[in-house]
Amino acid sequence: MRLALLAGIGGGLFAVDRATQPVGFLTWAGWLARGYRRRFLDSPSTVAVVSAPPDYGPSLAACLAEGWNLANAPDVRGRRVLIKPNLVDHIAGRPTTTDARLIRALVLLLRQRGAADVLVADAPAFRKDPLPILDATGFAEMLTTLNVPFTDLNHDDTIRQPLRGNFMPGVDHLHLPRTFVEADIVISVPKMKTHHWAGVSLSVKNMFGLLPGIKYGWPKNLLHQKGISASVAALYASFPFDFAIVDGVVGMEGDGPLFGDPIPTGVLVMGRDGVAVDAICANLMGFAPGEIAHISFMAWAGLGLADPARIDLRGEKLSGLRKAYAPPPQIPLG
C-alpha cells in the first residue's frame, strides 16, 4: 500500500515536471507563487491616463507633467536618466516610432525636475545605421536642438548581465549595452501599436531594443526564436525599467509594427509597473489583456498586474478614450 502510494506520488511529480518543461516544476511553481503574492498580497500598481493633444501641440508638455505627477514617477534629481524610445525602423507614412515631440517634452520635463543627465538610446532592429531613422522621424533635429546625446545601443560597449527567473531556458545571461546598465533611471517610451507576433508592442516589448546588434544581430533573432512571451518576461524580470510612458497620441493599428495605419487616440499612459501600463493600453486599444499572451503570462508569473481591479487608475476614465484598434495579421508559423 505504502509502496503504491509512493509510486503514485512519484509518478505524479514526474508527470507535473514533464508538463512544466522546458522550465521544470520548481521554476513553474516559483512563478505561480510569485503571481499569487503579487496579485493578492502586494500593493496595487498605479497607472495614469491623460488626454493629450492629437497633434502633439504645445499643451503636450502640461499633459505629460500631469501624468508624471499622477503616476508617482521616480525622483530624477541628480540622476542619469536614459530614455528608451521605440526607433525600430522608419517606414514613410507609418507611425512606427515614438514621436520626437513627446521625447522633446520629456527631456525638458526631466531637466526641469532636476535630472543631472538625460540621454536617448535605442538599438534599431532593422538598420545598422540609425541616422536615416533619426533624420526621418525628427529625432536628429530635436536632439541637436536640445543638446541631448543619442547612443546607438547596437554598437555600445557591452557588459555581461545575468538573467533572472529562468524565463528563457538555456540562456542564463545577456550582453547588454554599458549605457543602459550604468543609467540610474530608465524610462521606456514606446509607441502604442499592434504587432503581428506579440499582439501589441508597448512598454515591455519595447525593451527588445536593448540588445546590441553586434551580438544578437538585426533584428534580435535570439528573442524571436525563444518566443515573445519568454523573452519579454526574461528582460523585464532581469532588467526592469523604472517608468513607462506610452505614446498613444497617434497609435498604430492593423499590420504593426511596421506597416500599420495611424489611429489618433489622444492619450498618454504612464506608470512604474510596465505590465499594468501595457494592460491598460491593451484595454484602450480594444483588446482584453487576456488576449495578449505576453501580458497575461507576465501577470500570471507575478511580474506585474493586469487585473484592472488591482490597478489604481488615475486621470481620465478609459471608456471615453477607448478605440477599436484593428488587430494585426497573425503570422502562421509552425
Binding site: F126, K128, D255, G334
Partner: protein, 297 residues
C-alpha cells in the same frame, strides 16, 4: 586629397588603438572584433597592424571562432571579419588561425526550413525561400544578408570558391533582394509589403557577389548598384557611406561626389564619426587598392 586624408586617418588609428592592441567602435571604447579587423584590413601603420593582428589571435576562441569582443562567451558572425583580416595579412601565425576560423564558419549551424507546410507558410508571409540558407548572426539561427555576405567574402578570399555552401549563399542573396533592387537585413517583405533596401546591407551584398564572380550586367547587380546610389544620398554615418563607396568602386561605378562627401566628413583629428571603425572603413574606401583582392576583372 584622399592620400592626405588616408595618411591623417592612419595617424588617428594609431592614436586611438587601445592598449590591448584592438580598436573599438568609438575612440576609448572597448576593443571589438569588427573594428579591429577592419582597421587591420585598412592598412594601418605596421606596428599598429601587428598589434591588431595579435589582438585578433589572442581573442580567437579555442573552437576557432571569434565573438564580438574579448568578453564574449560564444563565437558568431564576426568570425568572418577576423578571418578576412588574417587572410589578407598572411604569415605563419595568421594562416592556421584563419584556417580554424574558416572551418568554424563552414560548420556554423543555420536554420533551414524544409518542412513543406512551414515553408509554404513562410513563403506566403515573407515571400522568401526558407529552404535556402546563408549564414546567421549566431549559430543555429536564421540566415541574414550581412553575415552571409561576410562569410562569402571570407571563403572566396581563402580560395574556397567551390564550397557547396558558398553556392547556396549566392542563391540566398539572390532570393533576398528587395523590390526595386538592393538588400536590407534579409527581410525583403513583411506580409507581402515590401521593406526598403538599406545602403550598408546593399553594399556588403554587392561586395560579396563581386567576390563570388557575379557579372555587372546581372540585373540583380545592376539594380543593387542603382539602389545603392539612391540610398547613399541620405545623410548617413561615415562607415555606411564608406562601404557604399567601396562597393561602387569594386563594381567600377564610382561616384566622385560620394567620395568627396566622405572626405568632407573627416574631422580635425583625422577620424570619422569619432571612431576607429568608421575611420578604418573610410580609409578602405579612399585607398587606391581595392580591398579583399576584388580588383581583378
Amino acid at each position: 586629397m584622399s592620400i592626405r586624408a588616408v595618411q591623417h586617418a592612419r595617424d588617428y588609428l594609431s592614436e586611438t588603438q587601445n592598449d590591448d592592441g584592438g580598436w573599438g567602435y568609438k575612440s576609448s571604447s572597448q576593443s571589438v572584433t569588427e573594428a579591429t579587423a577592419v582597421a587591420v584590413i585598412a592598412q594601418t601603420s605596421v606596428a599598429s597592424r601587428e598589434s591588431g593582428i595579435n589582438w585578433l589571435l589572442r581573442t580567437q576562441r579555442t573552437d576557432g571562432s571569434w565573438g564580438m569582443n574579448a568578453q564574449d562567451d560564444s563565437g558568431n558572425w564576426l568570425t568572418a571579419w577576423a578571418v578576412l583580416a588574417l587572410l589578407l595579412q598572411p604569415t605563419e601565425k595568421t594562416r592556421p588561425a584563419a584556417r580554424q576560423g574558416l572551418d568554424w564558419l563552414l560548420a556554423m549551424g543555420v536554420v533551414r526550413i524544409t518542412d513543406p507546410t512551414t515553408a509554404t507558410d513562410i513563403m506566403g508571409t515573407l515571400d522568401i525561400n526558407p529552404a535556402l540558407a546563408g549564414w546567421p548572426w549566431q549559430p543555429d539561427e536564421a540566415p541574414f544578408v550581412e553575415p552571409t555576405s561576410l562569410a562569402l567574402l571570407a571563403l572566396v578570399a581563402a580560395g574556397e570558391d567551390t564550397q557547396p555552401r558558398l553556392r547556396e549563399a549566392k542563391a540566398y542573396l539572390r532570393d533576398r533582394v528587395c523590390r526595386g533592387g538592393g538588400w536590407n537585413v534579409g527581410n525583403p517583405y513583411m506580409f507581402r509589403k515590401p521593406l526598403p533596401a538599406t545602403p550598408y546591407s546593399t553594399a556588403v551584398a554587392l561586395l560579396a557577389l563581386r567576390a563570388a564572380g557575379a557579372d555587372r550586367v546581372d540585373p540583380i547587380v545592376s539594380a543593387g548598384i542603382t539602389t545603392l546610389r539612391q540610398t547613399l544620398l541620405s545623410r548617413l554615418e561615415a562607415s555606411t557611406l564608406a562601404w557604399g563607396c567601396t562597393a561602387l568602386r569594386v563594381w567600377r561605378s564610382e561616384d566622385e561626389s560620394f567620395r568627396e562627401r566622405l572626405i568632407q566628413m573627416q574631422d580635425n583629428q583625422g577620424g570619422w564619426d569619432r571612431g576607429p571603425y568608421a575611420t578604418a572603413s573610410a580609409m578602405i574606401a579612399l585607398q587606391d587598392t581595392v580591398p579583399f583582392n576584388l580588383g581583378r576583372s
